[in-house]
């Protein structure tokens, strides 16, 4: 007989556990069996609970580990950025300065070939520096990321125009600005994004035609769609993805300057903002770069109660 049943009989029944009347014995046997089944079920439940707790612990440990890995890889990236800015630049600077010093001091001893070779070497070193700077800029999108805040695009755009003023004047460009919204953004990265897209629009204009750039925005659900539209050379559809990869260029350096990092930086900035970046273009008819950023979430209107 199950212990619990035995105890209850002792307490409540007018007969002892060992003096069960015949007419009740079948019933009590069934009750005892039910108790035993309950014991068994509880055992099963407890074991499976233990198991799922163990699993949970294991999964938590994995997540913790991944978190540590992430922090470490971020630290490594920041470290890389520093190394790139200092340790890689220094020897390059030495190469460049001393080549220039040789050219200056020994100008009359060098023949035309000698001078030309030195120019090539200086150019190589200068270009290497530009590439390192670009790589650094790319790494900094992650290592210098700031939280997203409600940011009015207009004043940021003003700053960008100021930074590009010389180029706008040089190219005699016209920039037409529509009404620009307030979005959720890391201000500095928003400026970088706009500056890179505008600089591209100014750069890839048709020869002999002054660049015209239209910038406007449109609300799409929870997001703002911003368009930077130029009337430049445009690009073929097969290049629409390629241009966003780091160090990818469609043109020789003689045609258009650059290291091929600007759009990769833009793409990375939008990725961390949870937005998208793409291009619509017909060759010869200009390109429109479109990106989306989160609108500022509206606070629920609860009639002034706090």
């Amino acid at each position: 007989m199950h212990q619990l049943l035995r105890r209850q009989l002792k307490k409540h029944a007018p007969f002892g556990p060992d003096e069960v009347p015949d007419e009740l014995s079948a019933l009590l046997e069934a009750v005892g069996a039910a108790y035993e089944q309950a014991d068994f079920d509880r055992g099963v439940l407890e074991r499976s609970l233990d198991l799922s707790t163990a699993e949970l612990k294991e999964k938590n440990a994995v997540i913790e580990e991944q978190k540590t890995d992430l922090v470490r890889s971020n630290d490594e990236l920041a470290q890389f950025a520093y190394v790139a800015s200092h340790d890689l630049q220094e020897p390059l600077r030495t190469v460049q300065s001393y080549l220039q010093l040789v050219k200056k001091r020994y100008a009359e001893k060098l023949d035309r070939d000698g001078a030309e070779f030195i120019d090539f070497a200086v150019e190589g070193a200068t270009r290497m520096r530009a590439l390192i700077e670009s790589l650094l800029e790319y790494a900094r999108v992650t290592s210098r990321a700031k939280p997203l805040e409600a940011t009015a695009v207009d004043p940021v755009f003003d700053e960008v125009l100021l930074a590009l003023a010389a180029r706008v004047a040089e190219e005699q460009a016209r920039i037409v600005r529509g009404v620009l919204p307030t979005v959720m953004a890391d201000r500095r990265q928003l400026a970088q994004l706009l500056q890179n897209l505008l600089a591209n629009a100014l750069k890839f204009h048709k020869k002999g035609v002054n660049p015209v750039v239209h910038v406007d925005a449109e609300r799409r659900g929870d997001e703002w769609l911003v368009r930077v539209k130029d009337e430049g050379i445009g690009l073929a559809s097969e290049h629409r993805e390629k241009i966003f990869a780091i160090f990818q260029r469609l043109h020789s350096r003689d045609e258009y300057e650059g290291t091929g990092v600007g759009l990769a930086v833009c793409k990375k900035i939008l990725e961390r903002h949870g937005g998208k970046l793409w291009v619509e273009s017909t060759p010869g008819e200009g390109a429109t770069f479109c990106f989306t950023l989160q609108a500022v979430p509206e606070l629920p209107d609860d009639g002034g109660a706090s």
Partner: protein
């Protein structure tokens, strides 16, 4: 310092890269201001020079310190921090001259009271120009405290 008697300014260059030491020398040679350039190659030696320790017992007190950041033994930042903590030494202007343009380096050095931070230009002519501007400004334009 008595009026009319102008001893040569003493400049301490803390720089571990011999190529940069030479380049700075060349730039100063081309400049208009004569000075005595002393060179030490690491942070510890810089502090020994300033505190006239060991091999630097006879070292003069510099009128200007040009400090690289990436140094063996003691980093430029540590040297800067020690100079600016030291009552005797903190009046000597320290010009940080570094390859770095990293914001954290710039901000960090001003935090430690660097007198200014200059990124070494890669272009030779610009480098020469920068060194000469430093000389003209810190050894001619500004009034420095009398040597202690």
């Amino acid at each position: 310092m008595k009026p009319g008697v102008r001893p040569l300014p003493e400049v301490l260059l803390v720089e571990d890269n011999p190529a940069d030491v030479r380049l700075t020398r060349e730039a100063m040679k081309e400049g208009k201001i004569d000075s005595n350039l002393h060179v030490v190659g690491d942070g510890q030696a810089a502090l020994d020079f300033l505190r006239r320790r060991g091999a630097h017992e006879q070292a003069p007190r510099p009128d200007l310190i040009l400090l690289d950041l990436n140094l063996p033994k003691k980093s430029g930042r540590e040297v800067l921090a020690e100079i600016k903590k030291d009552k005797e030494l903190r009046t000597i202007p320290v010009v940080v001259l570094s390859t770095s343009r990293a914001d954290e380096d710039v901000a960090g050095c001003y935090q430690l009271h660097a007198n200014c931070f200059i990124s070494k230009p890669a272009d030779l002519d610009q480098f020469v120009d920068v060194v000469q501007r430093i000389e003209t400004f810190w050894l001619r334009t500004v009034n420095l405290p009398e040597r202690g």
